[in-house]
C-alpha cells in the first residue's frame, strides 16, 4: 500500500474522454488508466498495455523543426530513422513532447493525483446530473493500479458521482470486493472460455477471471458481462456456445457485445511498432457477423445486444 496520503497518490492516466456514451448510463467521462495484465491480439488500445509512460510520434504532423532533438536529454531522436525515436535509449521523459510545436511527439500516459483527476471529471457534473451519467474507469485494466483506483472511486462517491468500471476481470478477488461499495456498475469482459485458447490469444490464464465472474454474480454485484466481438477469435460458434453455457450456469441471461473496430492499427506505428496484425484484424466487423453472433447467443437462450446500438438505421 502506498504510504502517501491519498490525495497525493498518483495514477498513470492514458486518456480522459468526455461525452462518452457507450460506457454506462447517461453522459459520462471515461478515464482510461494505463497498464494491462493481458495482451489480447485484437487490443484496440495497444498504447494502454504497458504500465509505463511512453512517447508517441505521428509523422504526418511533423514539420521538421528539430525542437525535439534539441530537447532530448538522451539523444534518442534520430532524423534518419523511419521511427523517429530510438526506443532503446528513450527514457520517456516527455521533454520532446513538451517542446514539439505541432504535437507530432506526444506523451502517452500522464500522471494525475486523485484531487486533480477528480477536479477534471467533476467539470461535467451538470451533464451527469441531467442525464443520469457519471464517471467510468477503464483501461488498460484499472484494477492494475489498484490503490489509485480504489482511492479515486472513493473520492468520486464522496463527491456524489455515479461510478462504473470496465474490467477484464483479471484481478485478485479480494481487490474486486473492496471496490464494490464504490461502484454503481461493473462491465466485465468475458472473452474466451476455453483456457488454452484464452492463453494463446490474450497471453494469460482465465481461471481467475471466470472465478471472479462467478463471485460477482453470487454476491449480487451490479455486473454486466460484455464480449468483445472479434472476427474468428472470439466470434466463433464454439466460444459463443461456451460463453452461453457459462452464463446460464451462473444464472445470467444477458450479454453486451462490443463490435471490433480495426482503426487502431495505425496507432502501432505511432508507438514505433513495425508488426502488423493478422489479416482478419485489418477489417471491421461486418453487421452480418454481428447479427450472426446475436443469433448464436439467442440459440443458447442468451439475450445479446450491441453496446453501440444495433445496426445503423439510417
Amino acid at each position: 500500500m502506498d504510504v502517501h496520503p491519498e490525495n497525493d497518490m498518483t495514477g498513470l492516466v492514458l486518456d480522459i474522454q468526455r461525452y462518452s456514451l457507450d460506457d454506462g448510463p447517461g453522459i459520462r467521462t471515461t478515464v482510461f488508466l494505463k497498464g494491462c495484465p493481458l495482451s489480447c491480439r485484437w487490443c484496440q488500445n495497444p498504447e494502454s498495455i504497458s504500465p509505463a509512460p511512453e512517447i508517441g510520434f505521428r509523422a504526418e504532423r511533423c514539420i521538421g523543426c528539430r525542437t525535439c532533438q534539441k530537447a532530448c536529454p538522451a539523444d534518442a531522436i534520430m532524423f534518419d530513422n523511419a521511427d523517429r525515436i530510438d526506443r532503446g535509449r528513450c527514457t520517456a521523459c516527455g521533454a520532446c513532447a513538451e517542446g514539439c510545436p505541432s504535437r507530432a511527439m506526444f506523451a502517452v500516459g500522464k500522471r494525475y493525483s486523485i484531487s486533480k483527476l477528480l477536479e477534471e471529471v467533476k467539470r461535467d457534473a451538470a451533464f451527469y446530473e441531467e442525464s443520469g451519467g457519471g464517471v467510468t474507469l477503464s483501461g488498460g485494466e484499472p484494477t492494475l493500479q489498484f490503490d489509485f483506483t480504489l482511492a479515486f472511486l472513493k473520492a468520486c462517491k464522496e463527491a456524489g458521482l455515479n461510478t462504473a468500471i470496465e474490467t477484464n476481470g483479471l484481478a485478485a478477488s479480494d481487490n474486486l470486493r473492496k471496490l464494490l461499495p464504490y461502484l454503481d456498475r461493473i462491465y466485465f469482459d468475458l472473452k474466451i472460455i476455453n483456457s488454452v485458447e484464452h492463453q494463446r490469444l490474450t497471453g494469460a490464464d482465465n481461471r481467475q477471471i471466470l472465478e471472479n465472474a462467478r463471485m460477482l454474480v453470487e454476491c449480487r454485484a451490479p455486473v454486466d458481462f460484455r464480449l468483445p466481438v472479434v472476427p474468428s477469435m472470439t466470434a466463433n460458434k464454439a466460444n459463443i456456445s461456451e460463453i452461453g453455457v457459462f452464463l446460464k450456469k451462473v444464472g445470467v441471461r444477458e450479454i453486451g457485445l462490443c463490435p471490433y473496430h480495426e482503426n487502431w492499427v495505425t496507432k502501432l506505428s505511432w508507438l514505433g511498432r513495425r508488426d502488423s496484425p493478422p489479416a482478419e484484424l485489418q477489417k471491421p466487423l461486418t453487421s452480418e457477423e454481428l447479427l450472426s453472433v446475436i443469433d448464436m447467443f439467442s440459440q443458447e437462450g442468451i439475450n445479446a445486444r450491441s453496446v453501440e446500438g444495433e445496426i445503423a438505421a439510417r
Binding site: 461525452y19 456514451l21 453522459i27 510545436p101 451519467g133 445503423a312
Partner: protein
C-alpha cells in the same frame, strides 16, 4: 437500447409536386414593385415620402400580375414571378446599377430577368435612384476616420440598408382578428382625432393616411385573387378543383379585409399579410413570429366544431412551408458572400412561455415542427423556444428532429432571453413574448429593432491595434508597417486594447445614429408600422420610434478568434515570456512565412476557447461584460431604444476573415474566423460538454441581440435511442444549468461532406446549418464548405 427506425413522414403527392417545382424553379426578378414605387414618387413629388411609398405599394398590389397554379390551396405571391425577388433601390442602389448585367450570369445565387426588364431598369428606373438611395446619402456624409474603418471591414454600420430593417415583432393577430378593414377603421378614427396644426400633427396625418392606403392595397390583392378563383372555377378541369376554387374565392373575399373565421382563412390571411409586408424594406428577415400561438384559437375552434382534422391542418401548413420558398431576395455580390447559400431568413417561432410565464406549447407547435422535418426546404427557418417546463414530449420531438439529419431547426433558451430583455428595460410580459427574427436575433414582444445593424470585426480591430492603428492586410491599400505597441504587463496591454476597441465601437454607434436618421426621414414603412404595437397609437412610423419597445444591435464577428488571439498573446508574451509582442506581431505581418514552428506552437499549445480552459474563458467573459457596460452607457438610438450585443455571423466570419491578416491564434491571413459566438472551428477538441462550458463562461443575459452556437455531429451518434436521449440531456444541461442561449447542430459526417463536394448532384437535398440559417451544402462557396468541414465532428471516438 433501441435503434431508431422512425421514418420521415412522406408529403402528400400534391405537396411533393409543389416542393419539386419550387426547388427546380429559377430565381427571377420581379420589377412591378420597383416600377410602381418609383413612379409613385415621381408623380407625387409634393407628397410626404410615407404617402408616396404607400401609393406605390397600393399600385403594385393592384397591378401585380397574379395566377393560381394547379393544386394550390393557399394563394398569393409577393412578386409577379413564381420564385421572385422584388427590388428595393431606395435602400441601396449602387450594387444594383453596377451589377445589373451580372445577375443572370454570376456563379452563385443567379437571378433571371428578361432583356426588356433589364432595359427598363437600366434606362428608366435605376437612374432615378442613382446617388439618392438611403445608403448613398449615408455614404456621402461619412467622415474620414469612419470611412477608413468601414473600407477595411473593421465595422459595417450600414446593414440597415441591406435588409436588416425587416427585423421586427409583427402582430399578425391584429389582422387575423380585426382584418385590414379594422386597421383602416382604427387609422381613420385616429386621423380624425389629430389636433390641428404643427409639423408633428402633419406627420401624424400623413402617417395615418399612408397606413390606410397601404392597407387598401393588401385588401385589393386578396379581392383580385377572389375574382380570379371564381373565374377559374367555371372552367376548372374537374368538379373537385372547381369546388376548391370556389372555396378559395370565398376565403379571399373574406380575408384579410375582414376577420378570419376559420383556421384556413387565418392561414390565408397571414399569407396575404406576409406578401403585403414584402413590398417595403427588403424584408428578407421578416419573422412569421409565434405562428403556433396566433393560429391556435382558430385551429382549436375548427377541430372542436368538427370542421378540421389535425391531418388537414398539417396539409395546409406543409403547403405554407413550401410557399415561403417562393419569396427570394436579390443581393449584390457582397451579400451573396456574407449570407452564403441563402439570403432569406423567415423565422417561425414555436413553443416557449406565454406573456404570463406559463408554458404555451400546443398541438400546432408539433404540427409546425413536423412540417419543418417533412418539407425540409430552406424556408421558413424554424426556431424552438425551450424552457424548464416545456413538456417532455415536445423536448423529445425537438430532439428527434434536431438529430435526424434534417438540420432545419434551432433552439433558444427562454430563461436567458427573457432576462436579457428585462435587463434593458423591456416589461417582463413583452420579454416573454419574444420572437426570433433574422438568423438568431430575438426581439421582445412589441419591439422594433434590427439587431444586426452594425457588424464589428473583433480580430480586425485587434490587428489594427497591434499595428499602430493601421491594417496589416487591406484591400483598400491602407496597409502599413507600423511599430507595435509596448506594454509592461498583460494588464496594461489588455486595458489599452479595450480602449481602442471602445473607440472603434463608439464610432460605430455615432455612425449608426446617422443611419437611423436617414431611415426615419426617407425610408418609413407604412405596411409594417400598423402591425407593430405602439405605432398606430402614437401615430408614428416604426422608423421614427413608433413601437412600444425599441432596440438595435451590434454584432461581433470572430469572437472565438479574438479570444484565442488575446489568450495566445497573454500566454506567450506575458506569462511564459518566450517572445516579445514585437516578435509576435512580426510573425503576423509576414503571415508566419518564416515562423511555421511558432505558428504550430500557437495553434497547439496556447489556450483555446472551447476547451474549458479558464485562461481563454475568462477573457471571453470579460469582453462580454465590458461590451455590455459600454452599450449601456451609450445614448439611446435614434428610435429611442437600447443598443444590444449579438454574436452571430451568418457567413461574415468567412467573408470578413478573408480580409483579416494572420492572427496570434495561429490562423493564417485570409482564413475563416470562428463562427457565431463559438470557438474556432476544429479547436474545441475536448468535445461538446467542454465547448458548451467555455461558451457559457459568457453571460448570455448580456446578449439580448442573440447569438449563434454551432456544433456538428456524426450521424452515428444518433443511431441509437440512447444517443438521442444523451443529446437531449446535453441540451437541457447546457440551457438550464449552464445558461446557454442558443444551439443549432448539423448532423452530417465529414465523409459525406467531402463526397458532396465531389458529387454535388447526388447531394442537392443535403442541408447544413451555417450560423443561424440553413443552406444547401452544395450551393455554398468552397470557403464556407471548408469551414463547416473544419468544425469538430462529434463522433464519440
Amino acid at each position: 437500447m433501441t435503434t431508431i427506425t422512425k421514418q420521415r413522414r412522406a408529403l402528400s403527392q400534391r405537396l411533393q409536386h409543389m416542393r419539386r417545382r419550387v426547388i427546380d424553379a429559377p430565381r427571377e426578378l420581379g420589377i412591378v414593385r420597383v416600377r410602381e414605387v418609383t413612379n409613385a414618387i415621381r408623380n407625387n413629388r409634393d407628397l410626404p415620402r410615407i404617402i408616396q411609398f404607400a401609393l406605390g405599394v397600393r399600385e403594385t398590389l393592384k397591378k401585380l400580375p397574379i395566377d393560381i397554379s394547379d393544386s394550390e390551396l393557399i394563394v398569393g405571391k409577393s412578386t409577379e414571378k413564381f420564385k421572385g425577388s422584388a427590388l428595393y433601390p431606395e435602400l441601396k442602389s449602387d450594387g444594383l446599377i453596377k451589377e445589373l448585367d451580372n445577375f443572370n450570369e454570376r456563379t452563385s445565387m443567379q437571378f433571371k430577368l428578361t432583356d426588356e426588364e433589364k432595359r427598363e431598369l437600366r434606362e428608366d428606373i435605376l437612374p432615378f435612384w442613382d446617388g439618392t438611395s438611403g445608403f448613398d446619402k449615408w455614404a456621402k456624409q461619412l467622415d474620414k476616420d469612419t470611412d477608413f474603418l468601414v473600407r477595411n471591414l473593421a465595422i459595417i454600420p450600414f446593414n440597415d440598408f441591406q435588409g436588416s430593417t425587416g427585423l421586427s415583432y409583427v402582430d399578425y393577430r391584429k389582422v387575423l382578428e380585426n382584418g385590414y378593414e379594422g386597421i383602416i377603421g382604427e387609422a381613420q378614427a385616429r386621423l380624425a382625432g389629430v389636433s390641428n396644426g404643427g409639423p408633428e400633427a402633419e406627420d401624424k396625418r400623413a402617417f395615418y393616411k399612408a397606413v390606410i392606403i397601404a392597407a387598401e392595397g393588401v385588401i385589393e390583392l386578396a379581392k383580385r385573387h377572389s375574382r380570379l378563383a371564381s373565374e377559374m372555377a367555371r372552367t376548372a378541369p374537374s368538379e373537385e378543383r372547381a369546388k376548391e376554387l370556389r372555396e378559395i374565392a370565398e376565403i379571399c373575399a373574406q380575408v384579410p379585409a375582414k376577420p378570419a373565421r376559420t383556421f384556413r382563412e387565418a392561414v390565408q390571411s397571414f399569407w396575404f399579410t406576409f406578401c403585403g409586408l414584402q413590398q417595403m424594406d427588403m424584408p428578407m428577415e421578416l419573422p412569421g413570429a409565434r405562428i403556433d400561438q396566433y393560429l391556435y384559437p382558430f385551429y382549436r375552434r375548427d377541430v372542436k366544431e368538427g370542421r378540421l382534422s389535425r391531418e388537414d391542418a398539417q396539409e395546409f401548413i406543409d403547403e405554407l412551408f413550401v410557399r415561403f420558398n417562393q419569396v427570394v431576395f436579390l443581393g449584390e455580390y457582397v451579400i451573396t458572400r456574407v449570407v452564403d447559400g441563402n439570403s432569406t431568413r423567415f423565422d417561425l417561432t414555436l413553443g416557449g412561455v406565454d406573456r404570463d410565464g406559463k408554458d404555451a406549447t400546443n398541438e400546432l407547435s408539433y404540427v409546425f415542427l413536423d412540417a419543418a422535418d417533412a418539407v425540409r426546404l430552406l424556408h421558413p427557418s424554424v426556431t424552438i423556444r425551450l424552457h424548464p417546463d416545456t413538456p417532455e414530449s415536445f423536448f423529445q420531438a425537438v430532439g428527434e428532429v434536431m438529430t435526424n439529419g434534417s438540420n432545419v431547426v434551432q433552439v433558444f433558451n427562454d430563461n436567458v432571453i427573457v432576462e436579457s430583455f428585462t435587463r434593458v428595460g423591456v416589461p417582463v410580459e413583452d420579454a416573454r413574448d419574444y420572437v426570433l427574427t433574422g438568423c438568431i436575433q430575438p426581439l421582445s414582444g412589441n419591439m422594433y429593432g434590427p439587431s444586426c445593424s452594425v457588424f464589428f470585426n473583433g480580430p480586425k480591430i485587434l490587428e489594427m491595434f497591434l499595428n499602430g492603428g493601421k491594417p496589416i492586410l487591406s484591400l483598400a491599400g491602407d496597409d502599413a508597417d507600423m511599430p507595435s505597441p509596448e506594454y509592461e504587463s498583460w494588464e496594461d496591454f489588455y486595458a489599452a486594447f479595450k480602449d481602442y476597441y471602445r473607440s472603434v465601437l463608439e464610432r460605430a454607434f455615432s455612425q449608426y445614429r446617422l443611419v437611423g436618421d436617414i431611415q426615419r426621414r426617407d425610408l418609413p414603412n407604412p405596411v409594417l408600422s400598423p402591425l407593430v404595437p405602439g405605432s398606430l397609437e402614437r401615430g408614428k412610423d416604426v422608423k421614427a420610434g413608433g413601437a412600444l419597445n425599441n432596440a438595435s444591435g451590434i454584432a461581433l464577428v470572430g469572437n472565438g478568434t479574438l479570444i484565442d488571439s488575446l489568450a495566445a498573446i497573454r500566454d506567450v508574451v506575458y506569462t511564459k515570456k518566450s517572445h516579445t509582442l514585437d516578435e509576435v506581431v512580426g510573425w503576423l505581418k509576414t503571415d508566419f512565412e518564416y515562423n511555421e514552428e511558432e505558428r504550430q506552437a500557437l495553434r497547439n499549445h496556447a489556450p483555446k476557447f472551447g476547451t474549458c480552459d479558464s485562461r481563454a474563458d475568462e477573457i471571453a467573459k470579460d469582453l462580454v461584460d465590458f461590451t455590455d457596460e459600454l452599450l449601456l452607457s451609450q445614448p439611446k438610438t435614434s428610435r429611442g431604444g437600447a443598443h444590444v450585443l449579438s454574436m452571430h455571423t451568418e457567413a461574415h466570419h468567412i467573408y470578413q476573415g478573408s480580409m483579416v491578416a494572420a492572427s496570434a491564434d495561429g490562423r493564417h491571413a485570409g482564413e475563416a474566423m470562428s463562427p457565431g459566438c463559438g470557438p474556432t472551428s476544429g479547436m474545441d477538441k475536448e468535445g461538446p460538454t467542454a465547448s458548451m462550458q467555455s461558451v457559457c463562461a459568457m453571460d448570455f443575459t448580456k446578449m439580448a441581440g442573440g447569438s449563434s452556437y454551432n456544433q456538428r455531429y456524426s450521424p452515428k451518434m444518433f443511431d441509437t435511442e440512447q444517443g438521442v436521449q444523451a443529446f437531449i440531456s446535453l441540451l437541457k444541461a447546457y440551457f438550464f444549468k449552464l445558461g446557454g442561449q442558443h444551439l443549432q447542430i448539423s448532423t452530417v459526417d465529414t465523409e459525406t461532406l467531402r463526397d458532396a463536394q465531389k458529387n454535388p448532384a447526388k447531394y442537392e437535398d443535403l442541408l447544413v446549418r451555417v450560423t443561424g440559417y440553413s443552406a444547401r451544402f452544395v450551393e455554398l462557396t468552397e470557403a464556407t464548405q471548408e469551414e463547416i468541414i473544419a468544425r469538430s465532428e462529434i463522433c464519440g471516438c
